[in-house]
Symmetry: C2
Subunit: 237 residues, 2 copies
């Protein structure tokens, strides 16, 4: 269960899931500063390598930083008392995650695959935003993106049938792929199921059915090619 991420030169406290990671690779200054605004907020040593399935931060931990994905995929999720897990979002290269209104994280963030992320200090962000027009707009943009995704996710979950949910997931994934058709999945069927509010079996069955209907091709389970984009488009409408 424990997802001590990682990676400590010396002793990582077993009870401090919030303290994680260390610099393992040097990222270029341009990459870290990203869109220009971030240098003032960049945490020294804030470039983190997170191994697969390791925790980046845990629910309830002090929300002192927010993060930007450089490489890999991150999931933010909630664990219920009955053991079920709801994935709120997958974050890919360029996405920012970990914004919080309160002092503590309300979700857990974990690495779906091996990841590189950059941590930015949260404290002082408002003051900086007030002095810098561009920073303000950048943050606003990231924020909007997060919100738009959250809304879109809620709309998908509001759909009742499994085909519609899986279809929406594929549609979204295809949109973000290079050519708009070829999807390489970093996540397991369980991840997809927990994201869509379905069971792993239903996800598997639905994908198989879509393959039989020649909407998609699935040479291996983690590689999906969309054969009939129009069909997905209609479903999403």
């Amino acid at each position: 269960m424990s997802a001590q991420p990682a990676v400590a030169l010396e002793g990582v406290s077993a009870f401090a899931p919030a303290v994680i990671g260390r610099v393992m690779r040097q990222v270029s200054p341009e990459e870290a500063r990203g869109s220009g605004w971030a240098s003032a907020l960049l945490i020294s040593g804030g470039v983190l390598q997170i191994p697969q399935d390791a925790e980046i931060y845990g629910e309830g931990a002090d929300a002192a930083a927010f993060y930007k994905v450089v490489d890999g995929v991150v999931r933010t999720c909630k664990f219920r008392s009955d053991g079920r897990r709801q994935i709120e979002a997958f974050h890919r290269k360029g996405d920012v995650f970990g914004f919080e209104s309160g002092d503590a994280y309300r979700l857990t963030a974990e690495a779906v695959s091996d990841c590189t992320v950059i941590a930015y200090r949260r404290r002082g962000i408002e003051q900086l935003a007030a002095t810098s027009n561009t920073l303000s707009q950048q943050l606003f943009g990231y924020f909007m993106q997060e919100m738009t995704r959250a809304r879109a996710h809620a709309l998908v979950l509001g759909r009742r049938s499994a085909v519609e949910r899986v279809g929406a997931f594929l549609h979204d994934a295809a949109q973000r792929s290079r050519d708009g058709r070829t999807i390489s999945l970093a996540m397991t069927r369980q991840d997809i199921a927990d994201y869509l509010g379905l069971t792993i079996e239903t996800v598997s069955r639905t994908l198989s059915q879509l393959e039989r209907d020649e909407v998609i091709a699935m040479p291996v389970s983690r590689q999906i090619r969309v054969q009939d984009p129009a069909w997905l488009e209609d479903l999403a409408a």
Copy 2:
């Protein structure tokens, strides 16, 4: 399609459901300026009275304004090609809605009950935010609230059973009520169903079952009293 929020004194076109409402009541200056920041953005004549079920703005319309609820309840929703409707959120007194990242609204806003809302100009908001620390923080706060709600809604919809969904809805509604137990519903069963991704019959049956189990009391269909708060609490956990 156009949703000029404002305020036609004469002639409401029968074919322009988007053009609705007009100033019917004078709202005090303090009320309109609200938290102090808003006077600069307040649209002249921007206090609107919206009759029940009227549209405030439509999906696709130019997102020139955002709104604050003074009184009543507003729903933001999406209509699908198959005629189904998904309600993204209910907005109550003090809530702000209509934030958009792009130029057009992605959702439709309608009055669940007779409403009073204030419209604020969106243009120029970034500049203002950059010059005013307090405005920036206020907006940030509203924004965060919206995002937190969207996330919470997605988590509820990720839950599979009808009892859990209805329970979460009741829990939330009770939280916002005066005494934490007595709920006055402004919305119909259909609204609730479209918000929870269920059918009207399932919502009705679930409420009846909860009443039989003495978790709630329902003297009339729009009035619900929570008898067993702990039970709801456990369900929400």
